[in-house]
């Protein structure tokens, strides 16, 4: 790119779009610059699983022609913006593996709704981003295609499961990206990599074209370098879709236009259960600083209690695995993906294909999910977990009767070292302690960078809002972001 002012590591979505629209650069040049940087930097990070250069450059060409003829109507809110897509979301004709060997060579025949919406808004989709296999993991070490390395510290994990989506934004390998969050898979990697990540309310963004892990929990959401950029992405993604019966008809407010509204007078809840022992002191200090900043801007701070928080991890690992065991039964070697070559009967073909195609964490979760749903255990485990899910949700509903947003940590620790927790699945699951409750309740949440540890690792603060309360949540996030610079 000729203009040195466009620093790919830091350029915001708003600045990238402006540069394309005002002719400072072209969408094609911006995409090519990103591909050059991917070739140079990504071998160390491993964030991309597939590049979609042809499709990206064709889209860039459409944007550049619209700029040339001055057709402002064709220049959407993401015109020319290079974006990466988590590999659990389908793109027509593009390799889509969900980080699994069982989908090696699969080319889905359709676009996910979120993918189609980004392109309709002018986005240039650069490729597919690495993730934990079927989005199951908190460190991106469960990908069949190798782990992703945290761009801020290459010997550390980027978080998971959307590790590639967070790392690519942090490393300047796309301006924004799509991830998915079932139990923290957007917020936790956003915190570990120092970028903004949004978990929209369940039903806010269509799940059509998202390879299902746990259908009552799965959500699609954006990663970006600023709250305003993430809000722009969410505005494009949100809204009803006839292809997803759980997508909501609730009107989509103007998230970006609301951002500038002052936060003075907003009531912020501080849940005591999220500040207990086990929380890293540097993270605690950074969050307290964010709370002070909100207070200084006129918010009132209120201690609240979400009494069932400690049960969120066990509830999550019953419900998510139960739903996964059902959803992943479709991978059987018959219609798409991997089939074991050495089986003479149908049942052996199912078993061998699944055994050879799935990695250990996916098998562990299918086994756990099948167990909790099996005869004799359904009431004890699955029904019990569904009942406690109600209690966890009621915790939030009653909290939001008194506060407008909740501020708390995203993770108990900063990014840990690759290999540090792979031998102990329960330790890895406990990483999700501050993120899974919001997933179970269906409320919205986000992670906003709020500082670094002394060792230079990013820290994220979590802002939670009530169902369909994204606009207020984003304002609180922007107010925290504003004091970081």
């Amino acid at each position: 790119m000729s203009d040195a002012a466009l620093n790919l590591e830091t350029i915001t979505l708003t600045a990238a779009r402006s540069a394309v629209v005002d002719g400072t650069t072209s969408a094609a040049a911006l995409a090519s610059a990103h591909y050059e940087r991917i070739a140079a930097v990504d071998p160390k990070i491993n964030s991309y699983l597939a590049l979609t250069r042809e499709r990206a450059l064709a889209q860039a060409e459409r944007v550049d022609s619209a700029v040339k003829v001055g057709d402002a109507k064709k220049l959407g809110p993401l015109a020319g913006v290079p974006i990466g897509i988590k590999d659990v979301l389908t793109m027509r004709g593009v390799p889509t593996t969900a980080g699994s060997k069982i989908l090696q060579g699969y080319h889905p025949p359709y676009d996910a709704t979120c993918v189609a919406r980004l392109e309709a808004a002018g986005a240039v989709l650069l490729g597919k981003l690495n993730c934990d296999e079927f989005a199951m993991g908190s460190s991106n070490e469960n990908s069949a295609y190798g782990p992703v390395h945290n761009p801020r510290a290459l010997d550390r994990v980027p978080g998971g499961s959307s590790g590639g989506s967070a790392a690519a934004v942090a490393a300047g390998l796309c301006v924004a990206s799509l991830g998915t969050d079932t139990g923290g898979s957007i917020r936790q990697p956003a915190a570990f990599c120092g970028v903004v990540g949004i978990l929209p309310t369940y039903g806010r963004v269509s799940r059509y074209g998202l390879i299902a892990f746990a259908s009552s929990l799965d959500r699609v959401g954006p990663f970006a370098r600023s709250v305003a950029d993430a809000a722009t992405m969410l505005e494009v993604l949100a809204g009803p879709d006839t292809m997803d019966a759980t997508s909501s008809q609730q009107p989509v407010p103007g998230y970006t236009s609301d951002l500038a509204k002052p936060v003075a007078g907003l009531r912020i809840g501080i849940p005591e259960e999220y500040f207990g022992e086990g929380l890293n002191p540097e993270i605690r200090a950074a969050i307290e600083k964010s709370l002070d900043a909100l207070k200084a801007q006129g918010c009132t701070l209120h201690k609240i209690s979400l009494p069932h928080t400690r049960y969120a991890v066990p509830v999550y690992y019953v419900i998510a695995t139960a739903e996964a065991s059902a959803n992943l039964s479709r991978f059987d070697g018959v219609r798409f993906g991997y089939r074991s070559p050495e089986s003479s009967t149908l049942s052996a073909m199912y078993r061998k294909s699944r055994d050879e195609g799935f990695g250990p964490e996916v098998k562990r979760r299918i086994l756990l999910g099948t167990y909790v749903l099996s005869a004799g255990y359904y009431d004890a485990y699955y029904r019990k977990a569904q009942q406690v899910r109600t209690l966890l949700t009621r915790d939030f509903l009653s909290a939001f009767a008194d506060v407008d947003a909740i501020v708390c940590p995203v993770t108990p620790t900063p990014a840990f070292k690759l290999g540090e927790k792979t031998d102990d699945p329960l330790q890895m699951y406990l990483e999700d302690i501050y993120s899974v409750a919001a997933s179970l309740a269906g409320i919205c949440g986000m992670s906003v960078p709020c500082g670094n540890t002394a060792a230079g690792l990013p820290i994220g603060v979590q802002v939670l809002g009530p169902h369909f309360g994204e606009a207020t949540m984003l304002r609180v996030g922007a107010a925290i972001e504003a004091v970081q610079k």
Partner: protein, 107 residues
Amino acid sequence: MSTAGVSEVDVAHVADLANLELTPAELPRMVRDLNAILGHIAELNELNTADVPPMAQVSEALGLTPAAAGESLRPDVIKPCLDRTTVMAEAPETDGRFFKVPKVIER
């Protein structure tokens, strides 16, 4: 909820239900991991949930029917579906019209 834990026989049975074949090396590791996780899950027994309704979907917790929560079914109109050639091209084995699988019935 039993906290007695699962044995190798239990896990092998569940693997069978899930159409998974575990290698002799995988089985003991899965038994160990599942027992650790089930031990943690057993903490749910501390709660009395006798009068608590189960929650399967987010809209239920809001006390709303799916329609009132803003969810709705699309109009039932005929639309073209995916092209057969494109779909069959993804199959591991096909004659172009059907999915081919190894024999189902043993003789």
